[in-house]
Symmetry: C2
Subunit: 464 residues, 2 copies
C-alpha cells in the first residue's frame, strides 16, 4: 500500500482487465509510466500477466521490469517461455540485468546467460568481473559513443541510430581511433551547433571520469559533486567500459547512507520488511555478542567498586545517569565524525582540530549539564532522600564533576575511534553507536566510582 | 584537501597563473569541468580571481558558481561590481540562486533581487513562496516547455532556441493552450522521430508530476522510484511551475538520509566541520537536556531498589549490562522501523506484523544471549567472586532471565514509539537512539531489580 504521487493503479488495472483489442490495449498502456505499470503487476493473476506479455512489445516489458523488484521479475520471467524471457532480459539495462540474474539459482542463471545476446552477455560478464565495492560493478553499458573525427552532421546521424538502443543520450562520449576515451559532448551543444561547425570545438576533453576498479565509497562524493547525467567508467587502458548515470548515483548515495545509518544503530546491514527471521537475527547478532562481551568487562570493573556502593548505596542510583550521558555524547561525536570522514579526507592538522573541537563541545555541554545536575540532584537528595544539606551537595557535586569529566572524555573517544579505524583502513562506520556507548561506559564507571571513592569516602569519610 | 577522482587542481592553477592572452586563457579554461574550476577559486588571490572574472563569460562564471559553496559565492560576488554580480546571479540555476541569496543580509539581498532580470526575479519569488519542507522550494525553472499543437519539426526548432538558456533538455514538457500541464516528450523520441510524424504520438500524457505544495518527505521516495531526469512541479491550477531534476533528487535523498542519521544519533540536525562552537552546542544540547531529565527519572526508580542492592551488592555490578543490552536492541528496532516507515506507508496489519516480527527477533536474540549470560556470568561469580555454585547460578539465572525480558520489551518499545510518532504526524526520526535507550533503561531497571527482589530475596532469601 505505497502512497503514490498520483495513483494510477486502479486506472491501469481497469485498462488491463478490459476486453479491448490488443492493439487498443497496447496503445492505451503506452501512455502510462513504466514505474506505474510495474506497480500493478503483482495485483494481476498469472493469466492476466500472460495476456500483458503478449500485448506489450519486448522493449516496454523490459522497461517495466527495470522498475520491478528483482525477486518479482524472476517470478514473472518464470511464467513465460525461456526464449522470450531471455529476449526480454537482453533488452534490460545491464546493471539491472546483472542484479536480476543474481536472483536465479546457479544452473538457471547459466542457461539464461547462454541465451542472452552476444553483446549483452559480454557486457554482463564484464560488469560481473568487478568486485561489489568497485564502481565498475554498478555501471551500465547503455550510452552513446562516437569517434572523434566526425562532423557535427555525422555525429547527429550516429546519435539518432544509436538512440534507438541506448537511452542515456544527454551526454555523448567521444573515443579516439585506438578506442581510448577522448572526451564528452553535451547533447545540448550538439543540438544547437550549426551543421558546419567543427565537432572538435564541442568536445570537453577534461570531462570527469573514473576507473572501473575505483572503490565506490572513495569516489561517490566526487560523482555527486559533478552532478552530471552520466560519468564514464574506464578500464586500465583508458578505454570506455560503461557509464554511471545519475539514477545510479541516487541508488549509490541511498545505499551508502543506508549502510552508515544501519551501522550507527549496531546492525551489520540494512534490513527489509519482508526478510525472514533468520536473516534479521544474523544481521543483529554480531554486534549484540560483541556488546555483551564488552558489557561483561564493564560489569567486572563495576565489581571492583562494590565496596564504594556498600558504604554509600546512594551513589549507585546515579550510575545509569552518568553512563547514559557519556554514551549519548560519544554517539553524537561519532556520528559527526563519520559524516565528516565520508565527505572529505582530512589532513593531520584538521583531524586534531576536529578532536579539539569535539572536546571543546563536550567540555561546554558537560559544564552546563554538570551544573544542572549538581543543583537538581543535590536538591533531590536533600528533600526526597532526607539527607543533610552537606551530604546531599557533596554527593551531587561528585556527580556533576563526574558528568563533566565523562562527557569530555567521551567526546574524545567518539571522535578518535572512527579516526583510528579510518587510519587502519577499516570503514569508520563500523564504530557503531552501541560500541561507543559501551566503551564510554568504562570511562564513565571509572571516573564516577573513582571520584566518589576518593572524594566522598577517602576525603570526606561519608557513609550511609 | 578533498581527494578528487582526477586532480586537475594544479593544471588549472597553472593555466590561470600563466601569462597567455585572455582569448587563449578563456579557450583553455573552457576545456575543464566547472566543478574542477570551482575547486581552485579559493586557492587564488582576489586579484587573480578578478582576472578570471574578466576573462570568462558570464555563463561560464555562473556555471562555476553553481558548483561553489554558497558562502564562498557570496564572498566572490562581493569582489566584483554589483551590476556584474547581479548579471551572473541572473544566469544561475534558480534553486542554487535562491540558496545564494539566503546568504546575504536582508538589505543586500533586497538590492540584488531588484537588480535581477525580471523573469529570474519572478521565478525566485515563486520558489521562495514555498515552505522549506515543500517540494516547490527545491525546484528549478530551468526546463524546456512547448505547446501541444506543434509538429515534430516545430518542436525541434523550439527546443534549439530554448536550449541556449535552459540546460535540462532530456525531457521536454508540453502544455495546453490554457497553460495546463499536458505531458512530456523524451528527447530521445523527438530526435529519432521522422519530421512528418505527428507530435501527439510522442507525448506521454501520464507522465508523473507533483504539486509544489507536496511535502518533500512524502514524495521523495516516489520521485526516486521513477528515476527520471526531471519531474514537473505544478501549481494548484495544474500549470507548470518548474522541475525537480535528478541532481535535485540526489541532494534531497542525501539531505533526508543525513537528517535521519543525525537524529538517530541524538543531534537535531547535521553538522558541518567548520561550524562555530555555539551552533554545534545548539544542535546537541536539546537532546542532552531531555536525556538528562529522563536519566534522573531512571535514577529515582533505581533508588526505589536501594534495599535490594544493600542486601545483595553483586546485583548492582550487572545493572549496566542489562541496561546497555536493552538500549542496543531498542536502537536496532528503532533504526529498522524508521527506515521501513520512510520507504512505505503501512497498513494497520503490516504495523502489527512489524511489531510482532521485532518482538520475535528480540525474543530469539534475547534467548540466545540470556543463555550465554546465564552460563558465563554464573561461572564468573563462582570462580572470581568465590560464591557457592547455587548462589552463583541463582544470580546468573536472574540476570539471564532479565536480559531476555528486557530485550523482548525493548524491541517492542523501539518499534512502537516511532509508529506512534508517525501516527500523530511527528517525524518518527525524532525518536532518537539515545531517547529509546533511556526509555528502555526504565524497562530494564524495573525488570532486573524487580525480578531480583522477588526471586533472589523474597523467594530464595539470598544475601551477601
Amino acid at each position: 500500500m505505497e502512497k503514490r504521487v498520483q495513483d494510477y493503479t486502479s486506472e491501469i488495472l481497469e485498462v488491463v482487465k478490459s476486453n479491448a483489442s490488443p492493439a487498443v490495449l497496447c496503445q492505451r498502456l503506452q501512455d502510462y509510466h513504466e514505474n506505474d505499470i510495474a506497480d500493478i503487476l503483482e495485483k494481476l493473476s498469472p493469466a492476466e500477466r500472460c495476456k500483458l506479455y503478449r500485448i506489450l512489445d519486448m522493449d516496454t516489458i523490459s522497461d517495466i521490469f527495470e522498475y520491478t523488484e528483482e525477486a518479482d521479475v524472476v517470478k514473472y520471467l518464470e511464467e513465460m517461455n525461456i526464449r522470450k524471457a531471455a529476449a526480454i532480459l537482453s533488452k534490460m539495462d545491464t546493471n539491472v540485468l546483472s542484479d536480476v540474474l543474481q536472483q536465479f539459482d546457479r544452473s538457471k542463471r547459466k542457461i539464461f546467460i547462454e541465451l542472452l545476446d552476444d553483446e549483452v552477455r559480454h557486457d554482463i560478464e564484464m560488469i560481473n568481473s568487478f568486485d561489489e565495492d568497485e564502481i565498475g560493478s554498478r555501471m551500465t553499458t547503455n550510452y552513446i559513443v562516437i569517434h572523434e573525427n566526425l562532423t557535427v552532421k555525422e555525429a547527429m546521424t550516429e546519435l539518432v541510430s544509436q538512440a534507438a538502443k541506448n537511452d542515456n543520450i544527454s551526454t555523448i562520449f567521444v573515443i579516439t581511433a585506438s578506442e581510448e576515451f577522448y572526451g564528452a559532448i553535451d547533447l545540448k551543444d550538439l543540438i544547437i551547433a550549426r551543421r558546419d561547425h567543427p565537432l572538435e570545438e564541442l568536445i570537453v576533453t577534461s570531462y570527469p571520469y573514473v576507473y572501473g576498479t575505483d572503490l565506490i565509497d572513495e569516489c561517490i562524493e566526487d560523482l555527486k559533486d559533478y552532478s552530471e547525467d552520466s560519468i564514464p567508467v574506464l578500464d586500465n587502458d583508458n578505454r570506455l567500459l560503461g557509464v554511471i548515470t545519475s539514477a545510479n548515483i541516487v541508488d549509490l548515495v541511498d545505499d551508502e547512507m543506508g549502510d552508515d545509518y544501519a551501522k550507527l544503530a549496531g546492525l551489520t546491514a540494512e534490513e527489509d520488511l519482508n526478510e525472514p527471521l533468520r536473516e534479521s537475527m544474523k544481521k543483529r547478532m554480531p554486534w549484540l555478542v560483541i556488546l555483551l562481551a564488552l558489557g561483561m568487562i564493564v560489569s567486572s570493573v563495576v565489581g571492583i567498586f562494590e565496596k564504594v556502593v556498600t558504604n554509600l548505596p546512594i551513589i549507585m542510583c546515579f550510575q545509569s545517569l552518568i553512563l547514559d550521558m557519556a554514551g549519548n555524547v560519544g554517539t553524537q561525536s561519532l556520528a559527526v565524525t563519520i559524516r565528516v570522514l565520508m565527505d572529505e579526507s582530512l589532513t593531520a592538522k584538521q583531524k586534531f582540530e576536529l578532536i579539539f573541537k569535539e572536546m571543546k563541545i563536550g567540555l561546554c555541554n558537560g559544564g552546563v549539564l554538570g551544573l544542572m545536575s549538581f543543583a537538581l540532584i543535590g536538591l533531590y537528595i536533600y528533600i526526597v532522600k532526607g539527607k543533610t544539606l552537606v551530604f546531599a551537595y557533596a554527593v551531587s557535586g561528585c556527580i556533576g564533576l563526574s558528568l563533566l569529566l565523562a562527557m569530555l572524555i567521551s567526546s574524545a573517544v567518539g571522535t578518535c575511534i572512527p579516526l583510528f579505524f579510518k587510519k587502519i583502513h577499516i570503514d569508520p562506520a563500523v564504530a557503531s553507536g552501541p560500541l561507543i556507548t559501551t566503551i564510554n561506559d568504562l570511562v564513565a564507571v571509572i571516573s564516577y566510582y573513582g571520584l566518589s571513592w576518593i572524594f566522598l569516602i577517602e576525603v570526606l569519610h561519608l557513609a550511609g
